[in-house]
């Protein structure tokens, strides 16, 4: 099975994250940039399918030059190769135009199965798998906590607010996964060394037949008008329990009319 995993480089969600003041995009220059956490689960799932059914795993990333670091990190887990869509004109692209570029890139790769994380930790928009599936005219099985592959038939379990759904489709398809699906492996030393030699193909907008005006700020379908830091919460009263902590807690709740 020919599997493509979408990997996004994001600013580390464990550190302070900002939007740039000059053009309102995510500040990647001063951030510690890492693989989007959920994508590691997507990579793991792809590797497990390859191990069970054979095939090839390709990483697909759209991002600036520095996303190469995340691509090498992804490859160190075990995928065979990577494709990096990189072009200065992409800066400022919205979700809708990003899906256009990723769909065009996927069109060149002929994947049976596209796996991605259910959302990225920076935007948390959760729309990419359905946008890509809509453009490619293939099935989207999203929010998987379990994925089974039986020949060309894919079946997922997806958590809902009322319980869970079992959803099935035939390949080709896009599957998105939550972090409940598996436990991603750590790259081995051998994997890290091997990743340095794995092929990484770069594609420009020209290679994909997408005009620069269709992407970036010019092609964007939405725009950030302004942004500001939310004033940090300040801690209020703190009492040490000396036998009356529970009562004091309820007294506070009562003054706030919760009790």
């Amino acid at each position: 099975m020919n599997i493509v995993v979408l990997v996004k480089q994001v600013p580390d969600s464990g550190a302070d994250r900002n939007l740039r003041t000059d053009d309102n995009t995510v500040d990647r220059g001063s951030a510690n940039n890492v693989i989007n956490e959920m994508d590691e689960y997507a990579i793991e799932e792809a590797l497990k399918i390859k191990e069970a059914h054979g095939g090839e795993v390709t990483i697909l990333t759209m991002g600036p030059d520095r996303a190469t670091e995340s691509i090498r990190k992804a490859l160190s887990m075990g995928p065979d190769k990577a494709v990096h869509v990189v072009d200065d004109a992409l800066h400022g692209s919205c979700a809708v135009t990003t899906s256009k570029v990723l769909a065009a890139a996927l069109g060149t790769l002929g994947a049976d199965l596209v796996i991605c994380g259910a959302e990225s930790t920076d935007g948390r928009v959760q729309v990419m798998p359905h946008m890509i599936a809509e453009r490619l005219g293939v099935a989207a099985l999203t929010g998987a906590r379990k994925l089974t592959v039986d020949g060309g038939t894919l079946t997922i379990e997806r958590q809902t607010e009322e319980g869970y759904e079992v959803v099935t489709a035939s390949t080709p398809a896009v599957v998105s996964v939550w972090d409940t699906i598996n436990e991603p492996r750590y790259p081995s030393f051998k994997g890290i060394m091997a990743a340095k030699k794995k092929p990484v193909q770069t594609l420009s907008l020209g290679d994909l037949g997408v005009a620069p005006a269709e992407v970036g700020f010019e092609g964007a379908t939405s725009a950030v008008v302004e942004h500001s830091k939310r004033p940090p919460r300040s801690g209020g009263a703190k009492v040490t329990d000396e036998g009356e902590g529970g009562v004091k807690l309820v007294e506070f709740l009562a003054t706030e009319k919760f009790v």
């Binding site: 979700a95 359905h130 809509e134 906590r145 939310r230 040490t240 529970g246």
Partner: protein, 319 residues
């Protein structure tokens, strides 16, 4: 007044969800709300009274096995046809997994911008979003097409405004390309009478400090006394204390209740990402230096196994 489409979210068990009432309330500030029910046979009938109570002037109903039997694509198809026909001033969907997925397909079908996790929307289409774990407030606009937004639950105070909606049945012709992901089974899991986590006004969450799955009864007891939902930190979920669907945080649910009670939760950034826009936060933790206290309006430094039972007893006394 121009028409604003509100895509109804409802559950089989409880009917119209609170976020739908929030969307209807918001829609009334932008124009005249029309509710859109996309569901199985007879779905609109069961919901129409409630939708009318909150000001739906009209209900569009697209019902049938074909709407409900596949993952979101048929719903997006019907909705796209409706938007092309009525040219609404805006389209509002719930900020849930399904709401975002329908919106995603609609955006591509219409080549229209999309704004997610919106907490407020002005009449001129300017949306307010909360980004980066609640640390950044963003104002943004759709610059191509109409305002297509998903509303984060608990952002608007739902206010009734009686209307008597006429129901218009929409023709349902689902394209084969929208029938690729078939729902073969829906399994209801025991939930009890607690409110849904993202919609609850009160959330009581337990963390690693709760110690084990059995002790989560304490968390549940306090939640029930406060009429709230139960949440859990990632540490508690990873340790197997509580099921994943109740996880609050960066890789779980984002909640924004009136009251958030954190029990035995240190307040790692992973957790804060999912709860720091809560209106009031209280915490019980034995570590006085736990970061959760930095955002708590009231904190108790102490053993939760002593503090929580005493608090529960005190609430019972006051009832």
């Amino acid at each position: 007044m121009s028409e604003v489409l509100v895509v109804v979210e409802a559950t089989r068990e409880f009917g119209v969800k609170k976020v739908t009432l929030e969307m209807l309330t918001l829609a009334r500030q932008l124009g005249t709300p029309s509710a859109v029910v996309l569901g199985g046979p007879g779905a609109a009938e069961a919901l129409s009274v409630k939708l009318g109570e909150y000001g739906a002037a009209k209900i569009y109903a697209a019902e049938g096995e074909e709407i409900d039997g596949y993952l979101v694509a048929p719903k997006a198809g019907v909705l796209a046809d409706l938007v092309r026909r009525v040219q609404p001033a805006a389209v509002l969907l719930a900020g849930s997994q399904e709401g975002k997925e329908i919106a995603a397909r609609l955006a591509v079908k219409l080549d229209n911008g999309i704004l997610t996790d919106v907490v407020a929307l002005d009449a001129d289409g300017t949306a307010t979003q909360v980004a980066f774990a609640g640390s950044t407030i963003v104002k943004s606009k759709v610059t191509r097409g109409l305002p297509l937004v998903t509303l984060r639950p608990n952002s608007v105070n739902p206010e009734p405004a009686a209307a008597e909606p006429a129901v218009e049945q929409l023709a349902v012709a689902v394209a084969d390309t929208d029938k690729l992901a078939k729902v073969v089974q829906r399994v209801a899991e025991q939930k009890g009478s607690r409110p849904e986590l993202t919609e609850a006004s009160v959330v009581v969450s337990g963390g690693r400090g709760v110690g084990n799955a059995d002790n989560f009864k304490l968390v549940e007891e306090l939640a029930d006394l406060l009429g709230g939902a139960v949440g859990a930190s990632r540490a508690a979920v990873d340790s197997g204390f509580y099921p994943h669907q109740f996880q609050v945080g960066q890789t779980g649910k984002t909640v924004s209740p009136q009251l958030y009670v954190a029990l035995g939760i240190s307040g790692a950034i992973q957790h804060r990402a999912g709860m720091q826009t809560s209106k009031t936060i209280v915490a019980v933790n034995k570590d006085a230096e736990a970061p959760i206290f930095e955002l708590s309006d009231f904190g108790v430094v102490g053993d939760l196994f002593k503090v929580v039972p005493q608090a529960a007893e005190e609430i019972r006394k006051r009832k």
